[in-house]
Symmetry: C2
Subunit: 550 residues, 2 copies
Amino acid sequence: MKLALAQINPIVGNIEGNTQKILSNITQAKNQRANLVIFPELAIVGYPPRDLLLKPSFIEQNLDALDTIARTMPDGITAIIGCIQKNTLQTGKNLYNSVAVIANGRIVSIHHKSLLPNYDVFDEQRYFEPGPIVTLARIDGKKIGISICEDLWTLQDVVGRVLYHHDPISTLAAEGAQIFINVAASPFVVDKHKIRRKLLSEHAKRYQLPLVYVNQVGGNDELIFDGRSCVYSPSGELIAQAKGFAEDLLIVELNGNTPSRIEPTTEGVQDVKNALVLGLRDYVRKCRFDKGVVIGLSGGIDSSLVAALAVEALGAEYVHGIAMPSEYNSPSSLADAKQLAENLGIDFNVVTIDCIRAAFDSQLKDIFAGREPDVTEENIQARIRGTILMAMSNKFGYLVLSTGNKSELAMGYCTLYGDMVGGLSVINDVPKTLVDEIAKLINSEREIIPENVFIKPPSAELRPNQTDQDSLPPYEILDPILKMYIEEEKSAEEIIEVGFDADIVKKVIVTVDKNEYKRKQASIGLKVTSRAFGSGRRMPIAQGFKQFKR
Amino acid sequence: MKLALAQINPIVGNIEGNTQKILSNITQAKNQRANLVIFPELAIVGYPPRDLLLKPSFIEQNLDALDTIARTMPDGITAIIGCIQKNTLQTGKNLYNSVAVIANGRIVSIHHKSLLPNYDVFDEQRYFEPGPIVTLARIDGKKIGISICEDLWTLQDVVGRVLYHHDPISTLAAEGAQIFINVAASPFVVDKHKIRRKLLSEHAKRYQLPLVYVNQVGGNDELIFDGRSCVYSPSGELIAQAKGFAEDLLIVELNGNTPSRIEPTTEGVQDVKNALVLGLRDYVRKCRFDKGVVIGLSGGIDSSLVAALAVEALGAEYVHGIAMPSEYNSPSSLADAKQLAENLGIDFNVVTIDCIRAAFDSQLKDIFAGREPDVTEENIQARIRGTILMAMSNKFGYLVLSTGNKSELAMGYCTLYGDMVGGLSVINDVPKTLVDEIAKLINSEREIIPENVFIKPPSAELRPNQTDQDSLPPYEILDPILKMYIEEEKSAEEIIEVGFDADIVKKVIVTVDKNEYKRKQASIGLKVTSRAFGSGRRMPIAQGFKQFKR
């Protein structure tokens, strides 16, 4: 049996475009003599469609598209296509997350997802009814056990606590499946791929069956899908792997003599960088910002990294840098920003902000009479810069990229409507210490980010001689505390037990909690850790939980 | 049997404070010789706790609080208290949404919620395992059928499509319940109370049993709980009703001779106004903004209404008005704003923005050379005002109230980081036509909002002679289209069929869709309709769904 794993990058909701993409992949697969071509979860509408699923017209268009594909595709090949189906029962959610098996102009069978993830960024129980029974598909005389994404996240020894009470994979095996096929849209999280591979391998080995895994690729808002569709042998060995972070059509002959393509696996920092580039590129492309992006370049490491990632994602001509110095910026900051722009080959403008700040000061003088300068005046500077970036966006049609990192956002060390402005926050799920690592990786072949940017102490430069460490613990201490508190939901007590200073831990926790209101209004950020600020973390704002006695 | 319905207003997460409130209500109930005192859903932690539920320490503190209440409360009275319990099974979500029946120092029984809402603003399947079986409680020799909120939203003829496959109320009846008790945290939506009453009455009548309903009251972030706890007789008649939009302890003698208190029921515009006042007051209070709020007063109807609501919620001394005129504002705008402030008795400042705008213009002159003025310059003005409001917040500790209405927010007729700044958007779920109605209601006793504010055509006043209707259809046409599209998920075709102009409908839909990115970064708004922008509407941003052929 010759399979084609069609690892496509759909645009959410663009049913017409996705349908064309699916048809073109079917034709390519057929041309390569595949018997069966397999698409990712919800391929027709793209994942995650979110509340578009509540529009009846959206569901109808998706069903029409499935018909179109069945009628239009070439004969002599079977396709497995992720789509939405309606639940015709009187009760329950009115949709299923399904796949259709289609061949020779008609729908052969429909299979529903049984296990519906409803944690972190997932809301599938908001829309879908769990599939009532698991049924095998018959394709070319073989019994195929088709499951959808979460359906195979059931092995306690690999994934930890299992959130479901039954295991569709074991049912498919018991029914006599000869091949497992799982179609997925599994979002990237750094090093989650290791767990995924273990899970796939274990399932194959446990039932002594080949397992075919087809994952979506591409960025859709905050989520990045890394692809890396693959096939495991009945002994649990990886025998084929598609590209990471790019579309691919991988041909695999099951039980054939021709060895399949196995693309190299990347990990860690390299993966995060690839994910950010893909997520950035797709957000800009899918939102149709044809004019590219604008970035405020401070000469610091965060904006330098974002500019470098943007050039890799979009090309230098679509990236526009602007420096907005004030009297509090060291001259070297401007020089570093200029050098970076030169190294990247991007457009670079300078707008000084002191006279605008002076205008605000003079208009607020009377109201603020008798009060000392404080964070108010610092924030005004940041907001002037935000206003200038947005003016560039309005005038030239650029998307503003926000450049704050996760450590800052966690601690509220950022100005709402100031440095937080922008349509996409590229590194807001990247802790500061990881920002440094990615920046070093980018510089590993040649100096793109000027060396001085790495050496100088991080600073917001909003008052004379300010550095981040005036307000924050050193990042080497802060980042692990934040990881335990945010990603692992550890209590103050547990973090202190690991060996961190109790006062620092408490201060960090209080600061994270009280800055929830800023994150509420943050732009979309690209998720790369197991818990990003964004749709996967839903905290109340007006709340009074005390983690510890103060 | 003498019941006390303890309609409390908890602060989400403030377990210590909520526990004190519960204990004090138990004592009051005991003093009034009640046998049983009943608290709302999740009373110990407040509803909705959202992702605080993912913190193991949060769950433990909630269990400790339950123990404290059991140990501390007076003997001779039973209490029913909403709390979180742990699921000790190996699989499934690890929590239950439960109530504990406690008396004489110990926990008598625990009952879990069976039906977990996971639509609109609700995410209960994110956290909770559905209760496996329904069991009766025994209190003072009576068999009590306890259910939790959604458990009784099962009557198809009242609520429409039923999302669940079983009906806990019929099970409780079949088990021999003699009284129904439902503890709830049911968020306010205008006129939802009518459906709720019908539902409660139907259940009582159907099983010929008294039904006691205890609802939470108060604002928690975007959600407002209207209280109005009540009791229905076995014939489905309302025999007791607690206050709307305020805490209450309602004493009801079941089968007694003393008639119970029935607070008057309000509806429609009056309810929306009450809800907004409560939501505003609680957000300010629960976020501890002791210094009050600041509002940019434009002399328009939206900001006038928000100021009037704020004065009702907080008192005039906690409301600070600021007008920020430019050369494009008519002199009457400033006069109207001033008159409003005088009528309300609030603090009023004026800061002109022309010289700040001039400073921006001069700094951007070179970069913008050769380009005509456009929306860029309009937005700069709005962002200067946003920056001034935030400066007032930073300097004096005021919360900025955002004053945009739902019609504007739907159409993106607002400036991100400009008039959209603020911690709370008071009327962003109120369509413009309803804004007018509430404003008229406020003026019904005496003129608070100057008459001229109602008469002049709505305008953003960002360029000479601008009015809203240059960019938007008349609000009498726009608002019903928006309601059908957003609240009812109607397609363009269906809306056109109702009789609206096809070009206008299509333009509205395209405009709503393309402004999703602005709403992503909007502040929290108070929900009063069946579908608010906020956590109950989760739209992708980078998406390509086409509602119709263009």
